[in-house]
Symmetry: C2
């Protein structure tokens, strides 16, 4: 590993180097902790970092290897965890002052799966309060005046800045893919039901999906292999078998450009960028066509929001009644609207999003995947919001798997993201195609603030 700094290694490279004893878990973690020390005063990505808590796990991973245990697929790889996941013995605040002293006694199912695969829980990353929309103070490492996005803010920033090679987030509207795009990293939102949500505080049971941040698509696939599986403790966990990969050999890849809403209502530079991406993919051998979905997208966005509001009200009803003053503005608004929403309206909203999902799946069916912009904006917008979630929410609400990967840089030096969406439960095929797109695009940008000064 002579020419590469430890913080530049991908998950796959770290796991391989540790498995081959070229690098120890402790050595890697120490390098990343040093980097964190240098960057954290500026970035502010940690909710809780307990170096000794992390180091104990790294030592244990090294001991296990030394004693002859087979390494897990994520053996010794440090992971940043959005502060809405329960972690045994480690402060878990959900971004709320109400839980300022909350130390869980049990790991979330996904944390247990990461640990079982050998990952080292490095610390808890900054989230917006209860994973809603109130912007945190964390810095976008590409541009100090632009938002890093939310709600999975610290996880996206930490991967972008090389503080850890992988991290966990969650997406109810667009909280994985949007910060992934704003920070120039890969974000994966698996199919609804793939990853158990047990032990993660919900925003909305109907739509919350746990997802990953990494620097390559291959790393996202590695993480998913450790995270996925049926869990009867999550009522929405899927027990259907994954769709087997069926990529035809020798057949050209068919990619549909999802134009409805996404490319019609994004900023004009975004449209030009995505058409440029499509041109590169065509040159590389893909057949690129157009996809339209015959649906009133404003109604869909309202339905998605209604489902979020009512579900959040169901989660917070009791606590909110006791401590309304301890809620931030956006969460409070969400819960209050949810409480006042009639059940009949909720049912109509659930029906609308189901109908959209089926229309989308039908429109996608002639293609292997569809591709569109991850965001409305041509680079992260300013810091007063966490960005516009409407470019990610339709896919979240459909339950379909989607991935965002960096696709270019604006003249202002901000990363851009392309969103690729797969068929229901077809995560594996989506990832294999996304990896091909990644290799065609060959993105190599690095954030200005990501390096220690």
């Amino acid at each position: 590993m002579s020419n590469t700094e430890p913080h530049e290694l991908t998950v796959a490279q770290v796991a391989a180097a540790i498995g081959a004893r070229e690098l120890s878990s402790v050595e890697l973690l120490q390098a990343l902790l040093d980097r964190s020390d240098a960057l954290e005063p500026r970035l502010g990505l940690w909710a809780t970092l307990d170096a000794e808590y992390a180091m104990r796990q790294a030592r244990e991973r090294d001991r296990a290897l030394a004693s002859g245990d087979a390494p897990g697929v994520l053996h010794g790889v440090p992971v940043g965890i959005k502060d809405i996941y329960d972690t045994t013995g480690l402060l878990t605040t959900y971004g709320s002052p109400i839980f300022a002293d909350n130390v869980p006694e049990r790991d979330a199912a996904s944390i247990a799966n990461l640990k079982a695969a050998g990952a080292v829980i490095m610390g808890k990353t900054v989230t917006t309060e209860f994973a809603c929309g109130d912007p945190p103070a964390t810095l976008n490492p590409w541009h100090a005046e632009r938002t890093p996005g939310g709600s999975s803010t610290g996880s996206a920033v930490g991967v972008a800045a090389g503080v850890f090679p992988m991290a966990m987030g969650s997406q109810t509207a667009g909280s994985v893919l949007r910060p992934a795009a704003y920070n120039g990293v890969v974000g994966l939102k698996p199919s609804m039901g793939r990853v158990s949500r047990r032990g993660v505080i919900p925003v909305s049971w109907s739509v919350d999906t746990l997802g990953t941040f990494s620097r390559t698509v291959g790393d996202a696939a590695l993480m998913l292999s450790a995270l996925s599986g049926h869990d009867p403790d999550d009522p929405f966990s899927a027990d259907l078998a994954p769709t087997p990969p069926t990529l035809g050999k020798g057949k050209p890849l068919k990619i549909g450009l999802l134009r409805t809403f996404f490319l019609e209502r994004c900023e004009s530079d975004v449209l030009a960028h995505i058409e440029g991406v499509a041109g590169k993919l065509t040159d590389a051998g893909a057949q690129v066509g157009n996809v339209s979905v015959d649906y009133d997208m404003d109604v869909l966005q309202a339905a998605h929001r209604t489902v979020m509001n009512v579900n959040a009200a169901a989660v917070h009803e009791r606590l909110f009644a006791e401590r309304p003053g301890d809620y931030a503005a956006d969460v409070r608004r969400t819960v209050e609207i949810g409480i006042l929403t009639p059940s009949v309206t909720y049912v109509q909203a659930e029906r609308i999003r189901r109908a959209f999902r089926n229309k989308l799946v039908e429109a996608m069916s002639p293609f292997d995947v569809v591709l569109t912009s991850t965001t409305k904006e041509f680079g992260a917008p300013d810091k007063e919001t966490t960005g516009d979630p409407r470019w990610q929410a339709p896919i979240t609400t459909s339950g379909l798997p989607s991935v965002s990967l960096p696709s270019g840089i604006t003249p202002d030096g901000l990363p851009l993201g392309v969103q690729i969406i797969g068929a229901p439960m077809d995560d594996h095929r989506l990832l294999s195609i996304a990896a091909w797109v990644e290799s065609v695009l060959g993105f190599t940008g690095e954030p200005a603030f990501g390096k220690p000064s």
Copy 2:
């Protein structure tokens, strides 16, 4: 077909005889219309019977065959249709005085599928008002003082009495399986999502499932082959592939007796009967074990009811506001409670039934199918209600496929039903196992009132 009366033929036999030109569609329909004329004054199973409407289709089927067209799988087979399905040009009242003059201009998707398979829409059968719980006047052909069940009343009675060999029903709590058991016929509730519900007035989008009545399990499988398929116009229609049949050759069939609630809280004679059935299946070579589901079943039943109420309120809200006096008592109560249910309560109810589904699937997993009683009662109860839906509702709410088939007769001459439940989307395997159970049990009873006097 010399020794068998036309009304005694199964769907498979009718289709074969018509395909072989041993019987014409017109000849069969006329025999059934004659039988209907003789029985209908006593049974009262028809909402609308228009002999000429049916005869036109039968003539068309015969013409098609004569002109060399290949017969469909249901070619020339008359079918009774619950009066909640839209049928082009044929009165469709939904059992409500508000729709006394409603003649749809478009067939329900399932009706179009039946016609495409060659079926002859014979007429519309009596349903409870809006497929809820107000008992209709239709007679149980086995016993004049007992309920025929509901809400798919006329469809079950017509198959039992030999007025038609197959019929369509629908199940929101237990409206296919319960009347099937009370009337000694086979009822199939396929997996949620298998059969499109477009063009059928809903009770509850979340749980309504269209199902079939026939005299054999094989006939139910034939009907399902004509009915199933993805339809983007039904938001809950499944686009996942059916699970392929995987019955291991030479391995003993594993059947789990579902004891929780079903066999714990049924009438004691029912428990003895089901244990007798289990004994026969064991003798025939099956391995029979016990299945318990660790769940508060009263909470589940309340959650199911809440989902029904709120969904029904969403369907009827406007019409009910205009014409409350035109609603029967049970529908009215359902809608009124639904309107008053907070959305947060609805969300909790949806969550509860999801969690139960997953617990049930997990508990079932060591077995090929699970088996239990279709009903609480040892034979149909008296006519003041349509019977207790709680022995069917937990399976409806889970979305799992289930079938009821006749399993014996009480000392009072009433038929009993056994309910067999399959894994999610595994309808084909369920039906093949149910056909085996049918052959082991060899039920041959006939209703006392089913024969013309």
